[in-house]
Symmetry: C2
């Protein structure tokens, strides 16, 4: 999408996610200067495009660990990718269901060039009182094919922004939930009062584990297909950012809200007392996180099915360790802190 400025939107988005990745990784490194740095891996996609993964993980288990500094994070990935390629007719058809602005001729066997740029992060802290967080902001373009041999980019025929951010605590602290939702609501409200409620509900619906009858966490916001066309979940009268420039500003506000939405929570929970019982519950909740990501998450499923996809980047969202117990009593004990979380996961609440 060509924007009002001279730079094409794809370039603006690429520059922004690069800067945001740097800011977020630096913030985590500054918070825990005694921990090892994030591992920065640049990669190239043979079919077109590139990316940078910044990943933190604790040293592997070792009996000497007790003497070492226990890092704040257990596992974290802050990844960007900027890829392009060709959407085959079947992919266009499937994508059409969610993206009404994408032209689709059922008789056409044509493939279309695409471009996708995004930042995706998942952070699993060590302390069971500190919640896991996830955020993802992305821009997608479909263009007209260029004649054989011609260099450059064809005319943009569809484009949209998508993204969101959500929190997954093992123990519920209401002030954390209010702070997280409140910060996201604040970033949304500037662009239209109806955005946050719609995106909050969308998030609750998306991060749901049907076979457990539970949400993955306490939600946040989730949205897709934001462009200047009609939107399935927002009435045409809803005041909202519509042009590519407006939407890019909106995405930047949300991306910039990540640090203020999460760091104050992390800072006040990292020194909370912990014990084997809390750790065990945290690992059980991480098992649920794995269940959601592997069974339901569309991004993960799409990634796993894509030939040539970078599996290590896709699965960096999984926790370092997870646990499953048959018929665990944890979460069922009346009046326990664990049960308090489960109640909220079974019946999402409004937090802002």
């Amino acid at each position: 999408m060509a924007s009002a400025t001279a730079k094409p939107m794809r370039q603006q988005v690429e520059e922004y996610i690069h800067t945001l990745q740097d800011e977020i990784v630096s913030a985590f490194e500054k918070l825990d200067p005694n921990a090892s740095s994030f591992k920065r891996d640049s990669w190239v996609r043979p079919q077109g495009g590139k990316g940078q993964s910044c990943v933190f993980s604790m040293s592997p288990p070792s009996s000497e660990r007790s003497n070492a500094h226990v890092p704040i994070l257990e596992k974290a990935g802050v990844n960007i990718s900027v890829v392009h390629g060709i959407l085959p007719p079947a992919a266009i058809k499937q994508m059409r269901a969610d993206h009404s602005t994408l032209p689709y001729d059922p008789d056409s066997q044509a493939s279309l060039p695409f471009f996708a740029a995004g930042l995706s992060l998942v952070v699993h802290p060590q302390n069971p009182s500190a919640p896991t967080v996830h955020a993802n902001y992305r821009y997608f373009e479909v263009t007209e094919p260029l004649p054989e041999g011609q260099e450059g980019t064809g005319k943009v025929i569809a484009w949209w922004f998508g993204g969101g951010s959500d929190l997954t605590p093992s123990y519920l602290f209401e002030e954390d939930a209010k702070h997280f939702h409140g910060t996201l609501k604040g970033a949304c409200d500037e662009y239209g009062q109806e955005l946050y409620p719609v995106f909050k509900e969308w998030c609750d619906k998306y991060f749901y584990i049907p076979h457990r009858g539970e949400s993955r966490g306490i939600g946040g916001i989730f949205f897709d297909d934001l462009s200047d066309g009609h939107h399935a979940k927002l009435s045409d009268e809803t005041p909202r950012p519509k042009t590519a420039d407006e939407l890019f500003k909106f995405i930047q506000s949300l991306g910039n809200a990540f640090i203020p939405s999460y760091f104050p929570i992390l800072e006040r929970r990292i020194s909370a007392p912990s014990d084997e019982h809390k750790r065990r519950w945290q690992l059980l909740r991480r098992g649920r996180y794995v269940e959601f990501n592997l069974v339901y998450d569309r991004g993960t499923k799409f990634g796993l099915m894509t030939p040539g996809a970078r599996i290590e980047s896709i699965l960096m969202s999984l926790p370092e360790t997870a646990r499953w117990e048959y018929m665990s009593e944890l979460g069922n004990e009346k009046g326990s802190e664990e049960e308090k979380l489960i109640e909220i996961l079974k019946k999402p609440r409004d937090w802002a």
Copy 2:
């Protein structure tokens, strides 16, 4: 399917899997008399049927554990279920793809009664040198609907047996692989020399993790849709058990082969030296087990999508603990024991 004896096949299968469950659970309990017993849970399916789960799990982590007996098993489930109900038209259509004997009229909106009985087991031992094992034997029937108000069971219009058993080591011991495959081959060969090679290849294809380019383990046998009709993977001339009685005998031979196929392996590995490195690799391999089961295993996926399914029984196949590392060096170090396993997982070998 009515068999030559007076008892209906569904009853014979039910009795057999009940006995087999008892034998297998008792054998594990006898092997480790100092460990706690399996937890026996009987359950009833509100929509029709019942089952019994026998599950072993280690005590939850606790700092006092070092003084306690370390059990041979870390987690194990030996479950039977005998369920009946109604297959809606969509389920019949989907099932038709794999079961050629199932009559299917694309214009029909009819639902059909079904009956399914099976035993399913997964055993994850504690020692990293001792392999995980899985086995599943099942019988399925589809019957004609009975007129409203009439009690009993309609005429059987399709039936089949399915099952298999496979081994998932973290470290490869060739003698274990040969013993496991050899025992299964021995049980198959009695019923036709072509069965084992076909079922071995089927197993390698089924327990494959495309996004990793690896098999889940070193295989075994896998089969489905065995009845007296045409079979997609066995030519009509292949000597094989065909009648329900013959097939039931075949299934019993395989079920009875479980203990001799696995226990000698378990017994010789449970005291192998272990360390943090081996444990770490075992947990990474368990991560792969989780990936296969949640992303690809048809039984698990079908279970998770079934309303009213007993999730705890379906997910008892997941290990107690699993681990994911970003870009782990384990498995890539030339000449290491870990690399030796990966080579076999990338290129399955013949073992018997």
